[in-house]
């Protein structure tokens, strides 16, 4: 990796450049914070109202017992995949280009899962009893129903969150130590505590590296399992268009797809504002672009399978459901999904598009929109035209659930904006690792 001047940064440069990102923020930054905070407040108010008045405040109805909340829940869980994928799987594959982006991606993961985790609560009719889903000894002698996909969710997501957080924090340790040594006063104290007194001694490193490898090894199957489990919320159900063995891989691929899009949406501005061109180079963007392209193609394949099986099964309900989605009230959403997820990414076949930041940015945004609507189309139209004609109906969102969904984005960004100012959003240590070691005389 080289900076604009074309010379390689030294270890010292890396420390300097990264720690520079933690300098006291600009007014613009606070401006953004204010905006996001405002939206978040609106969301919180909306949720408060919903808890007070009841689920009726959100536009749900028979047959759409689930709607935007679960849509957004699945969306955020999906986003939450790229991070661990990059840091774990790419780590195992020794893909060196990951080093300068994985920190941001991991942060994104953690925050995305934190956001997603809210939705089952928001969605529950009696969220104040949601703790009944946890297995704990109680005077009722009652335990959760481990046969229910929702309980699997509880386990999968909490595990995923815990592991991602641990992985994330462990990765941060040496960098925090670096900041500690670069800072003074109360900051030094705080970072001192957070670094757990990391010194980078040989014994620390050797266990650290071991552990890191093991984390990666654990996180890899986990990351694949989580979205499979989420997909089973649907696949285990009877609803036409849900009851499909295809769902696990389909969801996982979609998750990675949207995850990478989100990573781009986040790192492109980062490298622009902090002038990190030396570390996040076009090579990275190019690689990300390729990954998005590939996952998009796989996704398109799944879309085809979905339609084909619906038709080929000859099952009346499946066919009716698909036909209705594609032609009736929600057709616009249906085709928007295909446009964003299958067509748009095709431009990434051109190398120039993959390295042309604006294009890449627009593509990523569209992909995110497309992926949100993919989940929407599975849930809302899917339920809207199920087995029983008597109750067929159209779902209209209300101000309440709209505000809550928008608020969730604010919640995510407030976390992320906060993070990038207190923690190194590019890994100091791993970037250095990829640089050639300082040596006195050439090897012989």
């Amino acid at each position: 990796m080289t900076d604009s001047a074309g010379r390689q940064p030294t270890y010292a440069d890396v420390n300097r450049d990264v720690i520079r990102t933690l300098e006291p923020p600009s007014p613009a930054y606070f401006g953004w914070m204010a905006v996001v905070a405002l939206i978040l407040t609106a969301g919180i108010l909306a949720w408060t109202w919903q808890i007070y008045a009841g689920m009726g405040a959100a536009g749900k109805r028979t047959p759409q017992m689930w709607a935007m909340y679960i849509t957004t829940f699945v969306f955020w869980i999906g986003i939450g995949h790229a991070g661990t994928l990059i840091s774990a799987i790419l780590y195992l594959f020794r893909a060196r280009w990951r080093t300068s982006i994985y920190r941001g991606a991991e942060a994104m993961t953690v925050f995305a899962v934190l956001t997603a985790g809210l939705f089952p609560l928001i969605h529950a009719g009696r969220m104040w009893f949601a703790y009944w889903l946890l297995p704990y000894p109680n005077q009722r002698y009652l335990w959760p129903n481990f046969r229910s996909p929702l309980v699997w969710d509880v386990f999968a997501i909490s595990t995923y969150l815990t592991i991602s957080v641990v992985f994330f924090c462990v990765g941060l340790l040496p960098d925090i130590a670096a900041i500690r040594d670069a800072s003074t006063g109360w900051r030094k104290k705080i970072y001192g505590v957070l670094s757990l007194g990391w010194e980078g001694t040989d014994r620390q490193w050797r266990h650290y590296r071991r552990a890191y490898g093991l984390f990666a090894a654990l996180a890899t199957p986990l990351v694949l399992s989580v979205h499979s489990v989420v997909s089973w919320d649907f696949a285990m159900a009877l609803v036409p268009g849900w009851h499909s063995t295809l769902f696990a891989p389909f969801f996982v691929d979609g998750a990675i797809f949207s995850g990478f899009a989100m990573v781009l949406v986040l790192i492109i501005p980062m490298r622009y504002f902090w002038n990190l061109y030396a570390y996040i180079t076009d090579k990275h963007l190019d690689a990300m672009g390729k990954l998005i392209l590939v996952t998009s193609l796989v996704l398109s394949y799944f879309y085809l399978c979905e339609a084909f099986t619906a038709w080929y099964s000859g099952d009346h309900f499946e066919r009716a459901s698909l036909f209705w989605k594609a032609t009736k009230s929600y057709a616009w959403a249906f085709w928007l999904q295909y446009f964003c997820n299958s067509l748009v990414p095709l431009v990434l076949f051109w190398r120039r598009a993959r390295t042309h930041t604006p294009t890449l940015y627009v593509v990523s945004i569209l992909v995110l929109i497309g992926m949100w609507f993919e989940r929407f189309n599975i849930i809302v139209p899917g339920l809207g035209h199920d087995f029983y004609p008597y109750t067929w109906g159209i779902y209209w969102p209300t101000l309440t659930d709209t505000m809550i969904v928008i608020g969730s984005f604010a919640w995510f960004f407030i976390l992320f904006l906060g993070f990038i100012k207190v923690m190194p959003s590019v890994s100091i240590v791993e970037v250095k690792e990829t640089l050639p070691h300082p040596v006195k005389e050439a090897h012989h």
Partner: protein, 192 residues
Amino acid sequence: MRTKVGVGVLGLTLLAAALFLVLSTRGQAAGPAQPIAFNHQVHADQYKIDCQYCHADARRSEYAGIPSVSRCMGCHKITAADRPEVQKLAGFFNKNEPIPWVRIFKVPEFVYFPHKAHVRANVKCQTCHGPIEKMAVVEARTGQNLANDLLNLVGLARSSTPLTMGWCVECHTTMNAKEKTKAPLECVTCHH
């Protein structure tokens, strides 16, 4: 060295917490003040009046039934008519007012507890209500409490407190196992 101290402190606090929880579930709550200081000891123990003489609905209804004021007066027109408490009773009767007794035994919300079925199965009143005939003032610690749940969590819980679901279920299961009774364990039997 330092770590040792830390561990010690932590251990102590935990122990204290556990102790507090245990204590908080032991001991008896004082019975509330009733509009008339009715004494079960006198009626049920001293004079050996059968519970169902006054709580006559227990054998045929969901509710055990609080005796009507007139039923009390049935005896107390003459019996101990001079006692102040009995005069209170007469007062209610003459004013044609019901006596506002304070409820003591209460199953959790959304539960149907039929006394009838239990009387039919020869369950002693005391099994659920405790040694009423020994109580001058009726008192009971019933219902769920967090402490007990937490104790349960750390495995220190003695059997669940009376009139909680776990307590009912415990009894039903053990009776079915021991006495070969057919005490139902269906949720819908009590929740419908």
